[in-house]
Every structure is written in structure tokens, then in C-alpha cells.
């Protein structure tokens, strides 16, 4: 960077020399320099982007047509074999149904976040306290959350103790059956992520000018009408963004189930399965095919959302 500066500083001298009669065309070196400058800023970011985002995608697609194990120098081209295996072996595709639990949970989560955002956008005592409490879980380390809830659902843990307090003695093993375990884990996911949705909704609601509420209040509009006609339109863009993030999030759940159950008792998700295929069973080819399928699904979902809700705010330049 130092040498660049000095070279640039020296430029006016050389430029002054040919300054004879007539308009001077910008010297070639200066023009070249100007053309190169943006690339000097972009070279590192682009190199990282290509190395860690695009090269993996290309590689992944290539691996997905082979039987590579990730280690040996040998690999055989197997055509669409991995994809066929993925779609015909039910146990490989079944994991997608687990996403259904998280998808249902995200409906609860969005509804809850909307409710609390609406409520806390009005004058409520201890508003900041409630806001902080609702948001804080989102900031907590995922492994810590996993442990907190392992203890919560444990036999004789927090949940059982609370239920006993209300006279409901139970020895239900919350993480014991696939259905109960998935519902519990999806509940943890709501606990963790509701705060983010809530804060985003709250921000959108508060960016609606206050006079609108005052006018509505004067006209005798009920809380429901205020929500329906002022709040709802104000948060539509953020709501659609949240929906799309929830869908792709439900499809790529990993942390909570991996930390808490390791994917046991029917809680294995698609990403857990892919990680296991790739790094435990050395089936890089098959895992790549699975990852390609997931990537395509997520891109498709995003594309559908962009088509349904054209959002002009997302423009970059």
C-alpha cells in the first residue's frame, strides 16, 4: 500500500511534462491505474468468496456424481446413482419429515413474536425488561441452550419438577419417543429464535409514525383494527423475510438436535444425516448429492418467495 501511495504522488510531475498546447488526454498509465484500482480492493474479498462459496458448490455438484469416499485418490463416476439412492431409499429421505415439526414450530414462533411485538409496541410498564427477556435467548450459545434443555427435559428435571408443583406427577420421558422428542426439540427452537423475530417485528412496528396510532385512537379504532390496518401493512416486508428464513431454517436444522440427542430416537434431520454420511461413513459422493438436493430446495423456496413478494428494497446497487 505504501509503494502505491508514493507512485501515485509522483504522478503529477510526469503528467506536467507533456502539457503542451491543446487538450491533454489522460495519460495512459493513469487511465490504466484507475481501471485497476477497484480490483485491488476486490481481489481479497473475491478470492475468499470464490474459494469458500463457489468452489465448494462446483466441487459438491461434481462429487455428487461419483462414489468418492473423501480420502482415497480413486473415485468412480456413477452418474445419477447417488440421487437415485437418495430418492429410493426411504430412510434417507424420511429425515425431511422431521423438518415438519420445526416448520410447525415456526408458525407458533412467528405468531408468538407478532403477538409480543404488538403488545410491547403499546405503552406497557417494564417494556424494556420484557423486551430484553424475550430477546436474550437468541444470543445464548447453542451448546449452552442444548444443555439447559437437556436438564429441562430430564427425568426429574425442570419440567417434571414444575409439573409436580402443579400436582401433575409424571414420569413421561420427554425425549424418549420420536414424536415427543421432536416436539420437545422444536419447542426449544421456538424458545431460542422467537426473540429475533420479535425484535424485528417490533422494529418494523415502531418505524410506523406515531401520529397514525393517535389518529386511529381518536377515531375510536380498536386494538384489533389498529393491528389490522396500521401494524400489519407496516411489517409485511419483514414478515415475508421471516417466513422464508423459517422455511429454509426448518430444512437445515442442525445444532439443537445434534447437541441434545445426536440425532437419536428419530430426531435426525437432513443436515445431521448429511454430516454423518460425509464425516462418519465417508460417503462423500452420497452426502454431496444430499447437500445439492437441500441447496436446490432452499434456492427454490427463496425464488418462490421473491416472486410472490417482489421486494424492491433488496436492490443492491
Amino acid at each position: 500500500m505504501m509503494t502505491d501511495t508514493t507512485r501515485r504522488a509522483a504522478r503529477p510531475v510526469t503528467e506536467a511534462a507533456p502539457a503542451g498546447p491543446g487538450p491533454v488526454p489522460a495519460p495512459r498509465r493513469a487511465r490504466l491505474w484507475r481501471r485497476v484500482t477497484p480490483w485491488l480492493f476486490l481481489i481479497a474479498p473475491l478470492a475468499l468468496l470464490i474459494t469458500f462459496t463457489y468452489a465448494p458448490i462446483v466441487d459438491m455438484v461434481a462429487y455428487s456424481f461419483t462414489d468418492w469416499d473423501g480420502v482415497s485418490p480413486e473415485l468412480r463416476y456413477t452418474g445419477a446413482g447417488n440421487y437415485r439412492e437418495l430418492f429410493t431409499r426411504p430412510e434417507l429421505f424420511e429425515v425431511f419429515f422431521v423438518s415438519g415439526y420445526y416448520l410447525a414450530a415456526s408458525v407458533v414462533q412467528i405468531a408468538g413474536a407478532l403477538y409480543f411485538a404488538t403488545v410491547l409496541s403499546f405503552n406497557v410498564r417494564f417494556r424494556n425488561f420484557f423486551k430484553g427477556v424475550l430477546f436474550f435467548p437468541y444470543l445464548i450459545n447453542g451448546v449452552a441452550i442444548g444443555f439447559v434443555f437437556l436438564y429441562f427435559f430430564q427425568d426429574g428435571g425442570t419440567l417434571d419438577s414444575v409439573l409436580r408443583l402443579f400436582g401433575h406427577d409424571t414420569d413421561h420421558a420427554w425425549l424418549g419417543t420420536p414424536e415427543s422428542a421432536n416436539v420437545s426439540l422444536a419447542g426449544v427452537s421456538v424458545w431460542r429464535y422467537l426473540g429475533l423475530n420479535f425484535v424485528l417485528f417490533l422494529g418494523a412496528i415502531q418505524s410506523v409514525p406515531g401520529e397514525l396510532y393517535e389518529a386511529a385512537e381518536l377515531d375510536g379504532a380498536s386494538r384489533w383494527h389498529q393491528f389490522r390496518y396500521i401494524i400489519a401493512p407496516g411489517i409485511r416486508p419483514i414478515l415475508s423475510l421471516t417466513v422464508i428464513l423459517s422455511v429454509s431454517g426448518s430444512l437445515s436444522v442442525f445444532e439443537i438436535p445434534y447437541i441434545m440427542t445426536g440425532g437419536a430416537t428419530g430426531t435426525e434431520t437432513f443436515v445431521i444425516q448429511t454430516v454423518k454420511l460425509a464425516f462418519q461413513f465417508n460417503k462423500t459422493g452420497l452426502a454431496s448429492a444430499a447437500a445439492v438436493v437441500l441447496l436446490l430446495i432452499i434456492l427454490a423456496v427463496t425464488w418462490v418467495q421473491r416472486r410472490l413478494v417482489p421486494d424492491d428494497k433488496v436492490e443492491l446497487v
Binding site: P56, D59, Y115, V124, I140, N141, V199, L241, S252
Partner: protein, 276 residues
């Protein structure tokens, strides 16, 4: 009027209930972290108070046997390097994209835009091979490079800010003989402070909490970060919930402190980060 009052009561009731749902699981873990193994064995129930509220013995165990100190050290190194890199990369990219016209600009912008849609978890199968081929596997470089190189959101945040800096500032500096690098260093970068604060906070919290990347790329115990070291509590401390709880509290405490100190910035940061 009574209906309004009734609905007010219901609103407060729901808020108190939500507060309990959020805080109770955390509070119980805190209580557990103060109990002795003997108390745990007696099984007086998860909600029982510890006999000695100042029993920090489990924290000592967690810190020493759980290798939390080296975990905090590794996390700190990764945090500093990854955040510094992200700030540099993001601000340079934003400056180049916003202040220059050049060939293939549309393509470059599209590359960054599309990359934002690709969820990182899906491509790790192949990213792993690339990281491995660079010899970065099982070194601190793997997470640093990945955190630095795949953060599109911070580029968005910087872009918004660069755009709000008037171009006339660049121009007057250029008239005084400043070149593009001087302008970036002396004018743009210092004016990006609010954006830098946002990126540091959001990125910092994300890196501190990330589990997937260190788990995948740094299996050695010496390279444990907060998440992976805590995860390893599962094995040796098996059913010793008092120790696991202490480790959990140790991990949550810094987050709580940062949250209480920087609340306003954190809300704004995550709002900007998510809405791009």
C-alpha cells in the same frame, strides 16, 4: 372500560408467563451449578435451592477439568482475527462497489448477492475438502478464514453506510491529491464507525456462539473453543449435572454481560443484519 382493563390484565399475564418460560430453565441451571454432588444424589428436585449459595466448587472443576480457560483463549484469538478480517473485507468491498464503475461490476455484485442465498451448512461437505487441501484443517485458520470469507451480511451493512457518505468528500480529497487508498483509509473508513460497531457486535456474537464450524474443523482438544469445549462436557462429566451446569453458566455469563452493557446497539445491529 372494564373490557380494556381485563385485556390489560391478560396482556401482563401473558408477559409474565413468557418471562417465566424464558428465565426458569436458565435459573434452574444456575441453581444446579451451585449444588454439591451429594445434594444432587439426594435428589431433592430440580427447583430446590442449593444448601450453600456460594458454593463455587463446580465452577473450579469446570474451569480446570473442562479446559474452559484455553477455550476462552482460542475463542478470543478467532474473534479478533475473524472480526478484524471481516471489517476490512466488508468495507473494502463496499467501497469498491459503491464508488467505482468498472467492467463486470454487475457480475461481481451478482456473485455476492447469490452467495447470500446459499446456506453455509449445505456446502460444508465440499468446503471441508478445500480447507483440508490448504492444510488448514485442525488449525485456528480454518474458522478464521471461513468466518471472514463467507460473511455477506456485513458487506450489505457496510454498503448501506458507504452510500450515505457524500461523494463530495471523496472529490475534495481527490482534488487535494489523495488517491483511492488514501480516501478509503482517511475518509471512508473512519466514517464507517457505526457500521463497524454493528458488524463487530453481530459478528462477535455469531462467532462466539458458532458450534458447527469449530466442531467440524478443529477436532483436537487443544483447539477447543467455547462451544466445542462445553460440548465435550457431555462425555467425562456424564451425569454430573452440577458440573455441566457450571460450564453452561460460564458460557452464558459473558453473553449476559455484553447484552446488558450494549443492549441498544445489539437490537439495532441484529435488525440491520437481518433486514439487509
Amino acid at each position: 372500560m372494564t373490557r380494556r382493563a381485563a385485556s390489560r390484565v391478560l396482556v401482563y399475564l401473558s408477559l409474565v408467563l413468557a418471562t417465566l418460560v424464558v428465565l426458569l430453565p436458565l435459573a434452574v441451571v444456575f441453581l444446579t451449578s451451585l449444588k454439591t454432588p451429594k445434594e444432587m444424589a439426594e435428589d431433592s428436585g430440580a427447583l430446590a435451592l442449593p444448601d450453600d449459595p456460594f458454593n463455587l466448587h463446580n465452577y473450579v472443576t469446570a474451569f480446570q477439568d473442562g479446559r474452559m480457560l484455553s477455550a476462552f483463549g482460542n475463542t478470543a484469538v478467532i474473534l479478533v482475527a475473524a472480526i478484524g478480517g471481516t471489517v476490512l473485507i466488508g468495507s473494502m468491498t463496499a467501497y469498491a462497489i459503491d464508488r467505482f464503475t468498472f467492467r463486470f461490476k454487475k457480475l461481481v455484485v451478482a456473485l455476492f448477492l447469490v452467495a447470500a442465498l446459499v446456506p453455509g451448512v449445505t456446502t460444508q461437505v465440499a468446503t471441508f475438502q478445500i480447507v483440508n487441501s490448504f492444510g488448514m484443517f485442525d488449525t485456528l485458520w480454518a474458522p478464521i478464514a471461513l468466518y471472514m470469507g463467507t460473511d455477506i451480511v456485513s458487506i450489505y451493512i457496510f454498503l448501506q453506510f458507504v452510500r450515505s457518505i457524500p461523494i463530495s468528500l471523496d472529490e475534495s480529497a481527490r482534488l487535494e491529491g489523495a488517491n483511492a487508498f488514501t480516501i478509503y483509509r482517511r475518509i471512508i473508513f473512519p466514517l464507517l464507525k457505526p457500521a463497524i460497531a454493528t458488524v463487530v457486535i453481530v459478528k462477535g456474537i455469531n462467532v462466539y456462539n458458532d458450534f458447527y464450524i469449530p466442531f467440524l474443523y478443529m477436532p483436537s482438544e487443544d483447539l477447543g473453543v467455547i462451544s466445542t469445549s462445553l460440548f465435550r462436557f457431555k462425555g467425562p462429566f456424564g451425569a454430573h449435572w452440577e458440573t455441566i451446569s457450571a460450564g453452561t453458566v460460564l458460557v452464558i455469563l459473558p453473553t449476559l454481560a455484553v447484552f446488558l452493557l450494549l443492549q441498544r446497539f445489539i437490537y439495532n445491529g441484529f435488525m440491520r443484519g437481518a433486514t439487509k
